[in-house]
Symmetry: C2
Subunit: 214 residues, 2 copies
């Protein structure tokens, strides 16, 4: 009987994944605001009511996508770190990775932004909580790179607490990406192209951590 329950569990997990798949595709196609539960249900070829068996409400479904988004982000961060030796270069690579990520998966960045903008209501067992955990794991990669940088001397040691520095860099970078993605037209009107903007921001951030340049 345990075998049965196990298979049931797997089926359930698969169904859940199918739903998230459908929702994610629609998210990428038209933006979350114009995705309805009905559309998700249709795309996943099941009834709308069933969605509410797997997800408390629409928000929880979005957070389920957010979980994937943050997991993917962490992966990209890890790849970025792996390709560089010195901490400073790793941190810069993380910034670049975040920017590429936002370009490659706009809907993932969107859900990250929403997650970061809305303050949490820490209901235990919710997907929102899972997002928070994934977010912590992603930022932990940054902290580690900063630590490495301070240790190998590529990042100035008087930068302060690595955690604080990591969070600040995160906020900076996130702000830049958000502005770049949402206001590219206005920036162009200002004579600013997105790639230039990104590179400029990255160079400033590198200068910030670098011990010699100033």
């Amino acid at each position: 009987m345990s075998y049965i329950a196990e298979r049931r569990e797997e089926e359930k997990e698969r169904r859940r994944a199918e739903i998230v798949d459908a929702a994610e595709r629609l998210y990428a196609e038209k933006g979350w605001d114009s995705v309805t539960m009905d559309q998700v249900a249709k795309r996943a070829r099941l009834s709308r009511a069933l969605l509410y068996v797997y997800f408390r409400d629409r928000d929880e479904l979005q957070f389920a996508i957010g979980e994937r988004a943050l997991e993917m982000l962490r992966m990209r961060f890890l790849e970025a770190v792996a390709q560089h030796g010195r901490g400073l270069d790793q941190v810069e690579a993380i910034g670049r990775a975040y920017m590429r990520y936002a370009q490659d998966f706009p809907h993932y960045f969107d859900v990250c932004a929403r997650f970061q903008a809305h303050s949490v209501s820490p209901e235990p067992g919710s997907n929102e909580g899972a997002c928070a955990v994934k977010g912590d794991q992603a930022i932990a990669v940054v902290v580690e790179a900063i630590r490495a940088g301070i240790a190998d001397g590529s990042i100035r040691s008087d930068i302060g607490d690595p955690g604080l520095y990591a969070v600040t860099l995160w906020a900076f970078t996130h702000g830049v990406i958000q502005l770049a993605t949402a206001k590219s037209a206005d920036l162009a009107r200002f004579g600013i192209a997105i790639p230039d903007f990104s590179e400029y921001a990255l160079s400033l951030l590198r200068a910030l951590g670098s011990p010699r340049t100033g």
Copy 2:
């Protein structure tokens, strides 16, 4: 007869302002998401249908509040600039002003954030367009302070185009405030207090522009 039309126009403007007042109060009380047109109408003591005479839809009403928000922000920036002589200090004061502003009027910052996150659909004559203009005016203050700083030598001259620098600083600061307001609980869990976070970010930004320190 022109007199009549003029008075009519004024009445109309007043009505409009009353509606925005009502909407803004509700915004501040409960956040925009849980404000309904019905509630706005009730608070302004008129029928819901009339709101749609003054504002195309709910979004336009929010953008009307956004217009006020950005105007207020510009005022704060101007005050901040006026209280300092050197450009570098002016720029830092602008950053501080933005942070205080977000603390004093959370709903204003919220509408700024939403405006900045959503990409514009440039329908002429809309309040959204007016927001964009007000936003430009606010950032123009920053640009001017940077120019002054480069001129008086308090800001390193190799910082590049003042417009680009201004936009970048804006993005940085906005990102910090957003994270600070939305995730104060999580930051606390990381052992980071909001005032410390803000001060830290400001000190980093100051170091960025300062020619000597590095």
